[in-house]
């Protein structure tokens, strides 16, 4: 096993790096898009229903179908990793949009009322009160999105974009369980680490949620 790892170090690390890039870049893109969309839906009756419908529909499209259809939709090459990045960004956006909306809706009414009554304008209230108070709910969505993206990127190996899924397909081809096993272990480890990192960032960003327990 150790021999296998040292011989294939280059390939495994390369796949790991590609996997990280393909799964985490969409998280950042998705979050950046989902925050304004969530704020829009929380504040506009008009935008709320269509955005919610769109997010449900998006999330229900099978991933492999979306990976394959992407080039036809946006005119990229069939093997371009950007297909996976864009497809996963769509999923992440759909999922995080719900989290942002739920988080904003869960802000207690007296908090909103008091903020307004103290003379905060709407935008400031959203950005400096409602969004920060929604962080724990958004972070919960982020954890789901991160884990789900890390597992979905493996599917991308079927269309040849690399990542740890590459170790599965190659392992099957040559009949080596070493490749398959290391692919599985690394995927799981990556998902666990991503989860822990998000939890730690959330705890640092929301000191007040820990203060509650200390009362």
């Amino acid at each position: 096993m150790i021999e296998f790892l040292s011989v294939n170090q280059g390939r495994i690390l390369g796949d790991l790096e590609q996997h990280l890039y393909l799964s985490l870049l969409p998280i950042i893109i998705g979050l950046v898009i989902a925050i304004p969309l969530g704020m829009l839906a929380a504040n506009s009756r008009w935008a709320n229903a269509p955005l919610l419908g769109l997010s449900s529909v998006t999330y229900s499209i099978p991933s492999l179908a979306l990976f394959i259809a992407m080039p036809g939709i946006i005119g990229t090459k069939i093997l371009d990793p950007i297909n996976v990045v864009i497809a996963l960004s769509l999923y992440t956006t759909a999922l995080l949009f719900r989290s942002v909306l739920d988080g904003l809706r869960a802000v207690p009414e007296p908090v909103k009322q008091a903020s307004t009554a103290m003379g905060m304008r709407r935008a400031r209230q959203l950005l400096t009160v409602e969004l920060p108070v929604a962080i724990p709910v958004v972070a919960a969505g982020l954890r789901v999105a991160a884990v789900s993206n890390i597992s979905l990127v493996s599917v991308g190996a079927l269309i040849g974009v690399g990542g740890l899924g590459d170790l599965f397909t190659y392992g099957f081809q040559i009949g080596s369980y070493y490749y398959i096993g290391s692919g599985i272990v690394l995927s799981v480890l990556l998902a666990l680490i991503a989860d822990v990192v998000i939890v730690v960032i959330q705890r640092i960003a929301t000191p007040w949620t820990r203060a509650r327990a200390a009362r």
Binding site: T116, G119, W208
Partner: protein, 381 residues
């Protein structure tokens, strides 16, 4: 000064919020809106800082129509306290207090220093400044809410049932401190409550709202208790109104007279002799400074002589309510009248208090009962 000019608020569902309310809220005084739930008192309050807009009519603040002012700027000049407090959960206590000063662009360091001083002023330990709202008790949060409303020193305070969610003992101390603060600050305060006792205790002026969002009576609390305009107001202010009204009758003119006193180190025999000589069965023991200690039964036996500690005494600054309470609680039927240092100056019996109050009423001409029976007035409410 805040003026309501024929203000009506109707909600889209068809429910009437407020119906044709005209009212003047004087500067530097506490005006209390009181009434049952759904009577429009909160709706009226929320129209002052434009959390709601009237369907018709105007609200003027210092002569300016609030509808013409920038909402955010208008609100920053009016402190706002609500029952659920609504502290920002993600900000520390000191930063919560600084909310409006920060909005006004004041220096952060300066605002925080002022905020800590303000926390002390509302009766909080400054160590809580760095804590988060969830770490505070309900009573503490409400004090922070009051400090936050005062932070930018607004001339107007809008308070919506601020003390309703805390237990009765905390509520009473919050009310007392609130009155003490207002004595120093002299803000123009609009205070909403459903509790008549609170309204009468805090208000310089009480506005009673009735069904359908109409204003039924606006009066000083003692006039409200003495002359309820109709049966609705009379029933709202309740059975104890006659007794409550005594709160507004000063005790200084009560016919206080000498009471029989003995020293605390008088012997049983001396107490018996004093009682026999004066014909009073109860004598008051006083300490060497002349402060009352307890009532002694001059015909009692044993060492303790039926000792009853003196409970409530009254001073010239107290009301007849305090004096009557003291008299009823005393075994001698006498309220002990003391000076500012707590030294006994005399006593007054409950029968004498009753006679005094009766003489005041006949001097006024009408009686509370006359007004209460004047049900015809109800027609215009």
């Amino acid at each position: 000064m805040i003026e309501f000019e024929s203000v009506t608020k109707r909600f889209p569902g068809g429910g009437v919020g407020v119906e044709d309310v005209s009212l003047t809220i004087p500067t530097g005084k506490i005006t209390v809106f009181v009434g049952p739930s759904g009577c429009g008192k909160t709706t009226s309050l929320r129209m002052i800082n434009r959390m709601l807009e009237p369907s018709s009519g105007r609200i003027l603040h210092d002569g300016q129509d609030v509808a013409k002012l920038d909402k955010a700027k208008l609100r920053r000049g009016m402190g706002y306290v609500i029952q659920q407090v609504g502290l920002l959960p993600h900000r520390t206590i000191v930063d919560n207090v600084c909310t409006v000063p920060f909005l006004l662009g004041r220096s952060k360091a300066r605002a925080r220093a002022d905020a800590v001083a303000l926390l002390e002023r509302v009766g909080l330990d400054p160590v809580i400044a760095k804590r988060y709202p969830a770490q505070l008790s309900g009573g503490q949060q409400q004090r922070v809410g009051v400090a936050r409303a005062l932070a930018a020193d607004p001339p107007v305070m809008l308070m919506d049932e601020p003390f309703s969610a805390v237990d009765p003992i905390v509520r009473e101390s919050l009310q007392d401190e609130f009155l003490r603060l207002q004595h120093d600050l002299g803000k123009t305060i609009v205070f909403v409550t459903h509790d008549v006792d609170e309204a009468v205790k805090l208000g310089d002026q009480v506005a009673v709202f009735g069904g359908g969002g109409r204003l039924v009576q606006v009066d000083a609390p003692e006039d409200l208790l003495g002359r309820p305009r109709n049966a609705f107001v009379a029933s709202l202010i309740g059975r104890d109104r006659g007794y409550r009204r005594l709160s507004f009758v000063p005790a200084r003119d009560l016919p206080s007279h000498d009471v029989v006193t003995v020293s605390t180190d008088a012997t049983t025999r001396e107490v018996h002799e004093t009682s026999e000589r004066t014909g009073k069965s109860w004598v008051l023991s006083v300490d060497s400074d002349g402060r009352p200690v307890s009532w002694l039964d001059g015909r009692g036996d044993g060492d303790d002589l039926g000792r009853v500690p003196v409970g409530n005494t009254f001073t010239d600054d107290d009301s007849c309510r305090a004096a009557l309470d003291g008299a009823l609680a005393s075994p001698a039927g006498l309220a002990v009248h003391v000076d500012a240092d707590g030294r006994v100056v005399g006593g007054v019996g409950h029968d004498e208090i009753a006679r005094y109050v009766t003489s005041l009423r006949s001097a006024e001409g009408g009686t509370a009962e006359d007004a209460g029976q004047d049900a015809a007035v109800e027609a215009d409410a």
